[in-house]
Subunit: 361 residues, 2 copies
């Protein structure tokens, strides 16, 4: 029996996708091979690779002047590749809204001048700071945000107005959850293991004028975007099976009605869960309402022992990975695209029952 | 129907392993989740991760003072991580026996003084150069070889005697094919997609005294071995499913009798194929006999058109990916652990039939 998996990533994948992957695991189409076994230089694999790129472009409506790259190393690798590739003048602006935004900021300091424009650390990252664009550096090479904060459950619902300075967004935990206007960004990156596929591949969507030739520098070759772009992400062997899984997930999204349908589905699920929290006497969500994430919903009872009891009880009821990030504790339900509404309903039902028992005692 | 897949990598995987992976794809054990969906911080995934490490240590008899790391980016990333991490004095020795050894050499030049000790480029990398250890640099930080050349089909059957200078070996295409004495190396690296699993993970086996603290340098964090070692390769999300597949392959190797059994199996298959080539009137192998690889067997007819006809005919007969590397042409049969003897026999039978027809015309 499958459980309802609320993990923040790697995370639940659509059951239909897993079934298709299982059915094709020994032989893909009439190739006589598993996708895992295919030479990355074969026509069979190249078709998978290019279908994944084309589907992502279609589903996200990515304009023609943006390139789609598959890179290994996770968002962490992007914390370094972004400054290494984009810091031409040597300066960039950052908003720190949580742990990952903070790491992107501190890694960038190694490579140039990283300016802190705003932070929500003063209130444990429970809100998105109001930004005053007159405080932004006009000369910055880019402006970096982490658009959805996976750990604290916040989301930028309004993008910073950076003018001609390229906006760089870590979309790891919100990519594909709703339609976005890609033309507002200079670069988008997202590790796959939340809303797109298994871990091992990271998607970079980059405006082509931002791709620089670094071949004469000491920048590691594998950390140069141009190497990936020049070779359609086939400079060396890419993580082929992870890319294939992303393709299956993108097919599933398209079949379900694309990103508008995902948005409706996600808003519905988030409403069920936030309503339950807001009307509860024991659970509360620490995030400022207007900044709440649709993907990662955090909640606490305010009593560590009770939190632990809740997490253990939920697990026994087939609702798993509800513990908050190891750095903050409490509870967190990650309700990505692949989490069915039934899963959220089951969680809410369990919360109500738990609350009844807790208040009776 | 499954074909016999002679791809150099990604390559054939044991059919039993693929069947097991398919059966567990929706639910692993009684976790109620696919391995792909498991949080990398969960007990369930950590068990998979540590079993893979323990199995590799057991199967390769890796001494306790060597660490096993999972890193993304392929052998190409190691071409840069090795000099970035090991070049302390700033100099290393290289033997260039093919394209990948050459790339490792040229990438290292970016980071320090890379000395070319010997090369077999003069005869299209068809042999392993005799080495005179008096020409080695006593002060080198390491001595680098590519132990098995995937493209040209050569193998170091005798390791260079580097004394106290750590030997670094790219074992991508020969790891797990036979027992090795790990204590002779300072560092071994191998991308998984030849003899170990799907692409997306690279194994690094490093003697612990070679792991340096680079936290105060500008070396990208994700390119520092110590970060992986300090965090049991869980600093950020590792390529969990690729690691799981490696675990299944290692279980299969152990069950089949370990690396001694693999060696016997591989020697038998290589003998069948080399004997067929050596006794053929139209096929020949360009490699000096004593330097022949057990894993990658190259052969040519000397006639490009005939080569193409052979490759197309073989494909139609269910023997796929027999084309040589795009840089050299001709034919190449990669016969890794997972290639059954029946596959090699089928290839040899096809070669004989092809030769009969070719000589009749």
């Amino acid at each position: 029996m499958r459980v309802y998996n609320f993990s923040a990533g790697p995370a639940v994948l659509p059951e239909e996708v897993l079934k298709k992957a299982a059915s094709e695991l020994l032989t893909y189409g009439n190739s006589g091979q598993s996708v895992m076994e295919m030479s990355h230089r074969s026509k069979e694999y190249e078709a998978v690779h290019n279908e994944c790129i084309d589907l992502l472009r279609e589903v996200m409506a990515i304009p023609a002047n943006y390139k789609i790259l598959f890179i290994q190393g996770g968002a962490h690798m992007q914390f370094e590749m972004v400054p290494l590739n984009l810091m031409q003048k040597g300066t960039a602006d950052f908003v720190v809204t949580g742990q990952w935004a903070g790491k992107a900021f501190s890694e960038a300091k190694k490579y140039g001048e990283a300016n802190l424009i705003a932070s929500s650390k003063d209130k444990t990252f429970s809100y998105i700071p109001e930004l005053d664009s007159s405080t932004f550096n006009k000369n910055a090479d880019y402006f970096h945000i982490c658009e959805n904060n996976t750990i604290f459950g916040t989301k930028f619902w309004k993008l910073p107005e950076t003018g001609s300075v390229p906006l760089v967004s870590d979309m790891s935990s919100c990519i594909l959850s709703e339609p976005v206007d890609v033309s507002k960004y200079g670069l988008i990156y997202a590790c796959a293991q939340k809303n797109m596929g298994p871990s091992g591949v990271t998607i970079v969507i980059i405006r082509e004028d931002l791709i620089r030739d670094l071949s004469e520098t000491k920048t590691p070759t594998m950390l140069q975007y141009k190497i990936y772009d020049d070779n359609n992400s086939l400079y060396n062997t890419p993580p082929t099976y992870s890319i294939y899984m992303c393709k299956l997930v993108l097919e599933w999204i398209k079949e379900k009605g694309g990103l508008s349908a995902m948005k409706t589905h996600n808003e519905k699920k988030a409403a069920i869960l936030y309503d339950a929290i807001d009307s509860s006497k024991i659970f509360s969500n620490p995030v400022v309402k207007k900044d709440r994430s649709l993907m990662n919903v955090t909640f606490v009872t305010g009593n560590e022992e009770l939190d632990k009891k809740f997490i253990a009880g939920a697990k026994a009821a087939g609702l798993v990975n509800l513990g908050g990030h190891r750095s903050v504790g409490g509870m967190r339900a990650s309700i990505y695209n692949a989490m069915p509404a039934e899963g959220v309903q089951a969680l809410v039902d369990f919360m109500k029952k738990f609350e009844e028992n807790a208040t009776l005692q």
